[in-house]
């Protein structure tokens, strides 16, 4: 279990970073796993706004509730991607998804591991297939919010009935 609940994960769960939604945003997403109630609402600002090519992810904030893996993963992700240009964000997200689908075999590549920074702590999650979705929830919200920002869609995310 230590491989799953690394101290870094528990730290982020107890003291999440970037939690608390910013007032203004360029894109917002709400992601929920209806099976267990894990939820993440996430906002991004992008500079220069609505320019796909050389834009930078200026800020990420989020709010949510759920299991330690989903909440800590969103917290670690926020630190990792803030300030990166969007192409770079996509690369990191791709490496993280690959790690999650590695069935615990890891990435087998130091360069990729470096890209992930603290997010490599979630390596153990990949051994528990039922938890992979939890770890990816915040990343899905990020991808969705960025897509909206790039498309100039500043509409608030739709929140299904029964979720706050």
């Amino acid at each position: 279990m230590e491989s799953l609940y690394r101290e870094l994960i528990l730290d982020h769960y107890r003291h999440p970073h970037a939690k608390g939604l910013a007032e203004s945003f360029d894109g917002e997403s709400f992601q929920v796993n209806p099976m267990c109630g894990d939820q993440v609402r996430l906002r991004v600002t992008v500079t220069p706004a609505s320019s796909a090519d050389d834009a930078t992810l200026a800020d990420v904030t989020w709010d949510g509730g759920g299991c330690s893996i989903s909440q800590a993963s969103t917290s670690v992700m926020s630190d990792l991607v803030r300030g990166l240009d969007l192409a770079h964000v996509e690369e990191v997200a791709g490496v993280f998804a690959r790690l999650m689908h590695s069935r615990g075999l890891g990435l087998g590549n130091d360069a990729d591991e470096d890209v992930l920074g603290d997010a490599i702590a979630f390596e153990g999650v990949a051994q528990y297939p039922a938890r992979v979705k939890c770890a990816l929830l915040g990343w899905m919200a990020l991808k969705d919010a960025l897509a909206k920002a790039v498309a100039g869609d500043r509409s608030p995310a739709r929140i299904p009935e029964g979720f706050a």
């Binding site: 267990c36 109630g37 528990y128």
Partner: protein, 463 residues
């Protein structure tokens, strides 16, 4: 007929080579039938029972001994269940209700004997038992058959013809299997869906039953025991309310049949559904019980082989129940295994099983009551409830709790247990559920309570 070497047991009755008896490897010979009242199941008897369940000796995560507390999801099976299935397969397997050869006869006898045994276990007649793949299939069968009736011309019969504006009454305690089929039936027929709400104690609030049961109520579908709260429903009260308006009663007995004596005739329900895999039997088999007049009046849902009489290129006539509802090749081997499992339970005595589990449930509830930040969802005393105990752990998500327990070898269910409305009614999204079986020990209950007491500190939720 020219065979020169007849088998020695030729002429003996069918099904000679396998036994239905499922009495355990170390027959524990509990109280004999004349003994009254029955002796309780002691810890020593549980030790003997456990020898029939080798899986309970398994080591799981980091070499820990398995503590299996997920019986409400699926029960473990005694070895005599698989032994009955294996011996049937080796001795008497063939096509049921098809063909006239010896094995076909023996297999047909075995299948029908299994039906008789299931019927006897539930206090009903053999032709009132329809084999299905389980509770879900049985409940869907009823809902689809009622939809078929509603789509046709009105006929005066034992089952309701549901019209727009009629009412289908459910409860907030339902497993999705006894909820979603009725939602679809309501949508198809234009009926209105109403439900009995859960009170804060997790039991059905029956105070406004008289207003919920309107003269246009056609169906009342309810669970006998909740798979989340463990609460046992006052069936007599609901059956009386249904009778007063001529509504049909549908009982989901998936969680009661494994843990209490259940007699469908005595309960007075019109139809009921059960699954073998929750009562020490195999997966893939279960039953729909239907009062004879009800089954007679229901049309088939699945059609095809084995359920017809005369078939032309344009038409077919259907067999009487139960064959009418058993289209296609049935789970014959599983039916035999289920009957063996029922023999095992009957031998223990369902009243003794219920008493044993109540004792353990009381221990579990008392243990949990001593933990800070842990709330039982449902009745917190071991009265009129089963040993399915779901809890909310303040500040800890059920996934995390389940993972912590799993690491100690303790298997529980986390999530919404296919009962989202129950959770919503109790103000949570998901829960952590421990559920007991006849093989559960005091030590296992204590291990669970102890581990549960550590969870909040581990995740930083306890101050």
């Amino acid at each position: 007929m020219t065979d020169s070497s007849p088998a020695p047991e030729e002429g003996a009755s069918c099904v000679t080579s396998f036994t239905w008896e499922c009495r355990g490897m170390t027959d524990s010979s509990p109280a004999s039938e004349e003994d009254a009242p029955a002796e309780p199941i002691t810890a020593r008897e549980v030790d003997r029972i456990r020898r029939d369940f080798p899986i309970l000796e398994r080591r799981v995560r980091s070499g820990r001994r398995l503590v299996y507390l997920d019986t409400a999801a699926t029960a473990q099976r005694p070895v005599c269940v698989s032994a009955a299935m294996t011996s049937f397969s080796s001795a008497s397997y063939g096509a049921v209700h098809r063909g006239a050869h010896r094995l076909a006869e023996e297999a047909t006898d075995a299948f029908e004997e299994a039906r008789t045994r299931v019927a006897r276990f539930f206090g009903v007649a053999g032709d009132e038992i329809v084999f299905t793949s389980g509770t879900t299939a049985a409940l869907n069968l009823v809902a689809f058959a009622l939809a078929e009736i509603a789509a046709g011309p009105a006929t005066g019969s034992a089952v309701p013809v549901i019209r727009p504006g009629d009412r289908i009454l459910l409860t907030e305690a339902e497993h999705h299997a006894n909820l979603v089929p009725w939602q679809r039936l309501a949508r198809r027929t234009g009926a209105d869906l109403a439900w009995i709400r859960l009170g804060p104690d997790g039991r059905l609030g029956l105070d406004d039953l008289d207003t919920l049961v309107t003269p246009r109520t056609r169906v009342i579908a309810f669970t006998h025991a909740s798979n989340v709260t463990g609460a046992i429903t006052d069936v007599a009260r609901l059956v009386a309310a249904a009778r007063a308006v001529g509504a049909m009663t549908v009982l989901d007995a998936a969680q009661s049949a494994p843990h209490l004596p259940v007699d469908f005739r005595a309960l007075g329900v019109d139809v009921a559904a059960v699954s073998a895999h929750k009562m020490l039997g195999p997966t893939g088999i279960g039953a729909l019980y239907g009062r004879a007049e009800i089954l007679d009046a229901l049309p088939p849902v699945a059609t095809g082989g084995s359920m017809v009489e005369i078939v032309t290129m344009t038409e077919a006539t259907f067999q009487p129940p139960p064959a009418r509802f058993e289209a296609g090749t049935q789970a014959v081997t599983e039916a035999v295994g289920w009957a063996a499992a029922l023999d095992y339970l009957s031998h223990l005595g369902m009243d003794r099983v219920a008493a044993r589990e109540a004792t353990l449930t009381a221990r579990l509830l008392a243990g949990v009551a001593g933990l800070d930040g842990v709330r039982v969802l449902g009745p917190d005393r071991a009265v009129a409830r089963t040993g399915a105990v779901a809890v909310e752990i303040a500040g800890v998500h059920p996934h995390d709790a389940g993972q912590y327990l799993d690491d100690l070898g303790i298997a529980v269910r986390v999530g919404h247990h296919c009962a989202q409305p129950v959770h919503r009614a109790l103000g949570v999204t998901a829960s952590t559920r421990a559920s007991l079986g006849v093989y559960t020990t005091e030590a296992e209950v204590d291990a669970f309570v102890e581990a549960l007491g550590e969870v909040r500190a581990y995740f930083g939720a306890a101050r």
